[in-house]
Symmetry: C2
Subunit: 157 residues, 2 copies
Amino acid sequence: MPNFKLRADPGKQDITITYEFNAPAAKVFKAMTDAKMISQWWGPRVYTTEVDMLEPRAGGQWRFINRAADGGEHAFHGVFHLVDAPKRIVQTFEYEGVPGHVSLESMTIEERDGRSFVTAHSVFQSVEDRAGMMQGDAMETGARDTYLRLEELLAAK
Amino acid sequence: MPNFKLRADPGKQDITITYEFNAPAAKVFKAMTDAKMISQWWGPRVYTTEVDMLEPRAGGQWRFINRAADGGEHAFHGVFHLVDAPKRIVQTFEYEGVPGHVSLESMTIEERDGRSFVTAHSVFQSVEDRAGMMQGDAMETGARDTYLRLEELLAAK
């Protein structure tokens, strides 16, 4: 996956991930805002994903649950600040396992020659919050996995 | 106003304001989530404030307009991630004059001996965004003004 890049400068409280998809922006955007498709790619491959809530519009809420084979669950939720198809989503993000720690995510898609260049930026409430979310390379591994799954899904459709 | 404190460490992308009110948390929280009251204290004193939208609940939207005597307008909007009366609000914030730059605000109220200790934390998408919002000491002056206005309103009621 040479086209997955994660940038997290030391001492800062944000993360930027870039990824390139061999699909037009409208197709990528749909996969990111459609409950049926999200359940097929969101999260690391070891989990199944349930879309408990998804209202992709300003003020709408979202909540996804990752479930492991042993029944362990990780739930995440937030609200949409902006949904501007097919190029930009701004939303909040909270992992319910560590409640009270919220991040702000903005995702932009730029289409060039039928390919989509995605930039996903997350800013945390503190440097410590970012470290907690990253946990060594667990978050990077999970993020790589989730983007690769999305790429596979887009290729299959 | 010895009890107003603004902290913005160099090179970071967040700001923390603390303020102490001589009023219980429920009263402060109400003033922060009631349209009629917000129009009486939100923003610097040189403006009037119109509450265009206010839905204080997770997923609710808010939009306020500051108007100068000469008719100049500054509008702001966002969505609520969490509204937990009378102690915590987490929301997004965007100044419509510089669209596309969003911050994440969390406000907590701790009550001790009938007084409210408010901590308002804002995290920006970049160090540059924070600098743009602070503009020298304009933001600090405005924030002081707005907290003082709220203090006066609470004392009058």
